[in-house]
C-alpha cells in the first residue's frame, strides 16, 4: 500500500465517511475538531489565542536567542530571566521577568526568506496553497456559539492583505481593526435615529419572512447571521470606542502598540476567540540595532504587562500566546548595520494554553548561523499551536464535500512543548 504513510489511516476513513454523507446531502454532524472543543465553549471558559505578530521579521539575536560576544552577536548583551538558565536579549528586560510563563523555540528553519511566503507559511502551516490561518481555524473550532464578537480580530496599524479563511468561509476571516479604531460602518447612517434604524431592520425582517416561505433556509440563515453579527458589533460601538483607563495606559505605554494591546486584553476578556496584534517595523536592513532598540523598547514592557494581566486574571490557562514573525534576521551584519531576511535559524516564543512553560526547544550553533538541534518548520509549529488548543491537527477539515487535512500530514507537533 503506497498511500497514507505518515497520515493516519483511520482518520482518512472517518473523513471519507463524512465526506460521503455530505455529498449525499445529509447533515454533517460530526465535525471532529468542533466536537472536541464543544465542551469548552462555555462562556468565559473557551480557549483563546493571542497572537503578537512582529511584522518584518524580528531579529532572534536581539530577542530570544542572543549570542553576545560572538562574531555576529551584535552590541547587546544577554540577561537572565525568571527561568533559571534561560537568557534572552537585554532588549527584553520586562519580558525576561515573565519567561516562566513562556517557552522559546530556537530551532526554526523555514527555508524561506520572503516576507509574504514566510508569513503565509507561519500562519497556514503549509508552504503553498490555500489554507486557513491559525486565527480562522480558532474562529471555526473554538468560538463559542452566539459569540458577541467575531472569532478572529486583527489589530494592526497598517494594511497587509490577508486572505485568512480560505475554505472556512468569510465568517471566519479576520475582522481588521485599524489600530484601536473600530471596524468601519459601526454607526447608523446620518439622519437616522435609533427608532428609524430599528424600524428599517424590522421591515427587512418582514420582507425576509415572506421570502423564506417554502424555500430552503441555509443560505438565507447565513445572510441573516451576518446581520446579527453586524448588529452585535454596532451594539459594542461604545466598547470599541471607550478610551482606555489612564492607569492601564501608563503601564502599557501611550503609543499605538500599548493601546492596541489594551484593546486586545479587553477583547479577550470579552470572549473574543483569536486576537492578533501586529507590531510593525522589524524589517531592519539598515540600523538593525537602533531600530530593535526602538521597536523592542516599545514591545517589551507592553507585552510583559499584557502577559502578566492575562496571567493574573486567570486567562492565560485558556489563552495560547504566540509571539512570532515571518522569519528572523541574518546573523551577518551588513554594511548598513542592518540584518537581512533569514528563515534559516530563528526563534519564536509561545506560552499559555496547552504549552509547557519555561522550556527552550532546540538550539542554534554557537554563531547562530544554523540550527544545531531539533530543527522544526512552520508545519510543526502549526500542529503545536492547534494541539495546544485541543484541536486535533491530524484530523481533517470537513468542508462541503471536501476533506482537507488540518495540518500538513508530513509534519508533527513539538510534543515536548505541549503541556
Amino acid at each position: 500500500m503506497r498511500r497514507n504513510q505518515g497520515c493516519h489511516q483511520s482518520d482518512h476513513r472517518v473523513a471519507r465517511r463524512q465526506f460521503l454523507a455530505g455529498a449525499a446531502g445529509g447533515v454533517v454532524g460530526l465535525s471532529l475538531p468542533g466536537s472536541l472543543a464543544a465542551a469548552e465553549k462555555i462562556k468565559g471558559q473557551h480557549k483563546r489565542v493571542l497572537q503578537v505578530y512582529l511584522q518584518g521579521g524580528v531579529s532572534q539575536l536581539e530577542s530570544w536567542d542572543p549570542k553576545p560576544g560572538t562574531e555576529f552577536g551584535g552590541p547587546f548583551r544577554a540577561i537572565p530571566t525568571s527561568v533559571p538558565g534561560m537568557h534572552i536579549s537585554e532588549l527584553l528586560p520586562y519580558t525576561a521577568q515573565y519567561m516562566h510563563l513562556l517557552s522559546i523555540v530556537r530551532s526554526i528553519n523555514l527555508k524561506i526568506n520572503d516576507h509574504q511566503q514566510g508569513r503565509l507559511f507561519m500562519e497556514k502551516g503549509r508552504r503553498a496553497g490555500e489554507f486557513p490561518y491559525v486565527g480562522s481555524i480558532a474562529s471555526k473550532y473554538l468560538a463559542p456559539p452566539n459569540s458577541e464578537l467575531p472569532g478572529y480580530i486583527h489589530i494592526s496599524t497598517r494594511g497587509l492583505n490577508d486572505s485568512t479563511a480560505a475554505f472556512l468561509g468569510a465568517q471566519h476571516s479576520q475582522l481588521k481593526f485599524e489600530g484601536v479604531k473600530p471596524p468601519k460602518n459601526l454607526a447608523v447612517p446620518q439622519g437616522l435615529d435609533q427608532t428609524a434604524d430599528a424600524r428599517r431592520i424590522q421591515l427587512r425582517q418582514q420582507f425576509n419572512q415572506q421570502f423564506r416561505r417554502g424555500r430552503s433556509k441555509s443560505l438565507t440563515e447565513s445572510f441573516d447571521a451576518s446581520f446579527e453579527q453586524a448588529a452585535k458589533l454596532m451594539g459594542r460601538k461604545s466598547f470599541f470606542e471607550k478610551a482606555p483607563d489612564g492607569k492601564d495606559l501608563e503601564r502599557y505605554g501611550k503609543h499605538d502598540f500599548g493601546r492596541n494591546c489594551l484593546l486586545a486584553r479587553a477583547l479577550l476578556e470579552n470572549d473574543a476567540t483569536c486576537v492578533k496584534v501586529t507590531h510593525h517595523g522589524y524589517d531592519s536592513h539598515a540600523e538593525n540595532f537602533n531600530f530593535h532598540l526602538e521597536q523592542l523598547g516599545e514591545f517589551d514592557k507592553t507585552f510583559a504587562m499584557l502577559l502578566s494581566d492575562l496571567h493574573e486574571r486567570g486567562l492565560l490557562e485558556s489563552t495560547l500566546v504566540m509571539v512570532y514573525s515571518e522569519f528572523g534576521r541574518t546573523p551577518k551584519i551588513n554594511v548598513r548595520y542592518g540584518r537581512d531576511h533569514w528563515g534559516t535559524a530563528w526563534s519564536i516564543a509561545l506560552g499559555g494554553c496547552g504549552i509547557q512553560p519555561g522550556a527552550i526547544i532546540g538550539k542554534t550553533n554557537d554563531k547562530g548561523t544554523a540550527v544545531a538541534e531539533r530543527e522544526v518548520d512552520a508545519g510543526h509549529l502549526f500542529h503545536t499551536y492547534l494541539q495546544a488548543l485541543g484541536i486535533d491537527s491530524t484530523n481533517d477539515h470537513d468542508i462541503a464535500g471536501r476533506s482537507i487535512p488540518i495540518g500538513d500530514p508530513t509534519a508533527q507537533p513539538i510534543k515536548e512543548l505541549l503541556a
Binding site: G56, P68, G69, E71, G74, P75, F76, R77, T157, R158, D256, H280, G281, D283, S284, H285, A286, E287, F289, N290, F291, L293, E294, Q295, I333, V335, R336, G338
Partner: protein, 357 residues
C-alpha cells in the same frame, strides 16, 4: 621602494627619501596608510599627541595602533561594542563608552592596558563620552535618556541632566567649559548650564530625524557632534529626508548652528545619489570643515566645506563606508574607521614625491 603604490604601513613618519608636501590642500587628499582589523569598525579616535589611533568594532575589543610603528594592541574588557572614545590632552588616558552602558578608563602608558576604572554610566547604551576642556570631568549620554557628568578622578557622578525624551546620541562640552550640548534621536539639541545644572536653551534640528510611516519608527539623531575651535559654531552630522529607513534610504546631512543665536547656518548634503548616513564631522584649525559618511551600498565619502559656502568644495570618494572621522593634531592627516575593518589615514596635501625626481 615603490612609492607609486599606496603605502600600507605608516606614512606619517615620512621616509627619508620622500619629500612630503606640507601645504594643506584638501582637494589633494589621498590615502597614505591602512591598519586592518578583522571585524567592521564602529568608530575611531587619534590621541592628541599623534601616537595612537584607537578603534571600536563590531566586537567587544578596542584596537590600538601605534601610528609610528603600526604595532597593534587589543584592549579587552568591554562587554559590548565600543561606540565612542576620548583622550586626555597628553594622550595617556583613554576613555571609552560602550553599548552596554559602561565607561572604561585606560592608561595608555601601560604595556597592556587594563581598565583602571569602570563607570556603569547608563542603563542601556552609553553612546558618547567627552572630556571637559579642563580635563577634570567626563560627559556621557545614553539610552536612559540622561546626560551625566562625572569626576574623572574618582568616577563619581557630579551632575545628571534629564529632559531628553528619546535616546541621547551625542554630547560635548562647549570650549568655554561652562556649557554642555547634547542631541537626541528626534533632533532635539539641548544646551545645559553646568553652573545651574539646568537646561539653558534648546535648538530643534527637526530636519535631522524622520518618522518612517511604513515601519512606524523614528530614525535620526547626531552621529557626530563638534564645536568649532572658538566655540562660535556647532556642527552635527546625521541624516535627513528619511524615505525608507529600513533600507537605509535617507540622505546624509551635516548641519551647522550659530552658537550665540542657536540659528542654523548651513545644511550640508552630498550629491543626491549618495544616500546614507554622515558619521563624522571635524573642524580643521585652518577654518574649513570635514565630513565623512557611508553610502547605503557600502561606499564612503569625505566632504570638505569652506565657511559661508552652501556646498562642499571637494568630495573624495572612498571604496569603503566611512563610519567616523578624526583629525590629527598636525592638521594634515585624517583617520577614518571603515566598515571593512580597516582604519585608513588620509593626508590632505599633494602626494609625496621621491627626492630628486
Amino acid at each position: 621602494m615603490n612609492v607609486k603604490q599606496p603605502a600600507t604601513a605608516d606614512a606619517i613618519a615620512a621616509q627619508k627619501p620622500l619629500v612630503e608636501s606640507t601645504l594643506i590642500e584638501p582637494a589633494k587628499t589621498h590615502q597614505v596608510a591602512q591598519f586592518k582589523h578583522s571585524v567592521p569598525l564602529t568608530t575611531c579616535r587619534v590621541d592628541p599627541t599623534g601616537r595612537y589611533v584607537v578603534a571600536g568594532a563590531q566586537d567587544l575589543d578596542i584596537q590600538v595602533w601605534n601610528l609610528q610603528t603600526s604595532a597593534q594592541r587589543t584592549l579587552k574588557g568591554h562587554t559590548s561594542w565600543v561606540r565612542s572614545f576620548d583622550f586626555s590632552k597628553d594622550g595617556n588616558t583613554l576613555y571609552s563608552a560602550c553599548w552596554g552602558g559602561d565607561i572604561k578608563v585606560w592608561n595608555m602608558a601601560d604595556a597592556s592596558p587594563e581598565p583602571t576604572m569602570t563607570i556603569a554610566a547608563h542603563k542601556g547604551s552609553a553612546r558618547w563620552v567627552r572630556l571637559s576642556p579642563d580635563q577634570t570631568k567626563l560627559a556621557t549620554c545614553g539610552n536612559d535618556l540622561l546626560v551625566k557628568v562625572w569626576n574623572i578622578a574618582d568616577g563619581k557622578l557630579l551632575q545628571t541632566f534629564a529632559g531628553h525624551e528619546r535616546h541621547v546620541y551625542a554630547v560635548d562640552f562647549h570650549p568655554d567649559g561652562q556649557q554642555l550640548v547634547s542631541q537626541d534621536l528626534m533632533g532635539f539639541i539641548k544646551i545645559w548650564d553646568l553652573q545651574t545644572g539646568k537646561q539653558k536653551r534648546g535648538i530643534h534640528a527637526s530636519l535631522m530625524t524622520g518618522y518612517d510611516k511604513k515601519f512606524a519608527a523614528d530614525m535620526g539623531g547626531a552621529r557626530d557632534l563638534q564645536f568649532s575651535p572658538d566655540g562660535s559654531e556647532l556642527a552635527s552630522a546625521g541624516i535627513t529626508n528619511v524615505v525608507n529607513s529600513f533600507g537605509g534610504i535617507q540622505d546624509p546631512i551635516i548641519m551647522l548652528f550659530d552658537w550665540n543665536t542657536g540659528k542654523e547656518t548651513a545644511q550640508l548634503k552630498p550629491d543626491k545619489a549618495f544616500q546614507g548616513i554622515a558619521w563624522g564631522v571635524r573642524y580643521h584649525p585652518d577654518g574649513f570643515l570635514i565630513g565623512a559618511g557611508a553610502e547605503r551600498t557600502g561606499k564612503g565619502e569625505l566632504w570638505f566645506h569652506k565657511p559661508g559656502e552652501k556646498e562642499f568644495f571637494h568630495t573624495l570618494k572612498l571604496p569603503r563606508a566611512a563610519r567616523g572621522l578624526d583629525l590629527l593634531a598636525d592638521g594634515r592627516h585624517l583617520v577614518v574607521p571603515h566598515s571593512d575593518g580597516s582604519v585608513c589615514t588620509y593626508r590632505m596635501t599633494a602626494k609625496a614625491k621621491v627626492f630628486g625626481t
